[in-house]
Amino acid sequence: MDALGINLGQLVSQVVNLLILLVALRSFLYRPVLNMLDQRSERIRQSLEDAETAAQKAAQAEADYQQRIGEAQRTAQAMLDQANQEARSLRERTLHEARDEAQRYLDRARREIGLERQQALRAQKAQLADLVIAAASKLVAHQLDETAHRQLVEQFLADPGD
């Protein structure tokens, strides 16, 4: 050993120092670092799990949202269809009532026109008859002489009448 230039005592001392250093490093450096790394890994894993959970919740929320949107759209479409149907029914009913009302007005107007026409015709006939009778009255009165009046009285007397 001496020939090799190795001092046994110094070697043992260095080995012991090295062991002591290793033990000290293990106790005061490696273990805390490893613990810190483990904790960091755990936090990362937990974060990843949280992120995945959050993503799943977000996906579920998205699905729920889409479902509600779909239901709302279907409900809105149903209400729109019903409103359109009611609007069509109302329009047809209103048109029908308007046609009936117009027909009633038309019929009444025709009746009134007919009545007015008949009244006008009657009035014209009455006026014409008045004129004819007035003319006939004057003519007959002018034509009746004493003899004719006497004949009329005789005709009255000759009429049995009783």
Binding site: L121, R122, K125, A126, L128, A129, D130, V132, I133, A136, S137, V140, A141, L144, E146, A148, H149, R150, L152, V153, Q155, F156, L157, D159, G161, D162
Partner: protein, 103 residues
């Protein structure tokens, strides 16, 4: 023109005479109003009165009036009964027929 005439006599009995009150104030029997377009001669009045008495009874007395609107003929009313043989009435009937007849 109005002409009141007291009937003088007839086959059914005497006829009362009065210018202002043809039957007298106390007369309550049947009376006739005879209207003509012209004034009648007395013989015609008597004949008419005879006819009225024959139909409505011998107590009938008559008052005669002239109404030129009758045009001609004789119209007599006794109570609610009418005898109408005047030209005016016939023309009125003709007018009604003209108005109502045809369309």
């Amino acid at each position: 023109m109005k002409d009141s005439m007291p009937a003088q006599s007839s086959a059914h009995g005497p006829v009362a005479a009065s210018e202002s009150l043809p039957f007298g104030e106390d007369y309550t029997g049947p009376s006739a109003l005879v209207r003509t377009a012209v004034a009648l001669a007395e013989p015609q009045r008597q004949l008419i009165l005879q006819r009225l008495r024959k139909r409505f009874g011998p107590q009938v007395r008559a008052r005669f009036e002239v109404d030129q609107t009758l045009i001609g003929g004789v119209q007599a009313r006794v109570g609610d009964d009418w005898i109408d043989d005047t030209i005016a009435t016939k023309l009125a009937a003709l007018r009604d027929a003209l108005v109502k007849g045809g369309r």
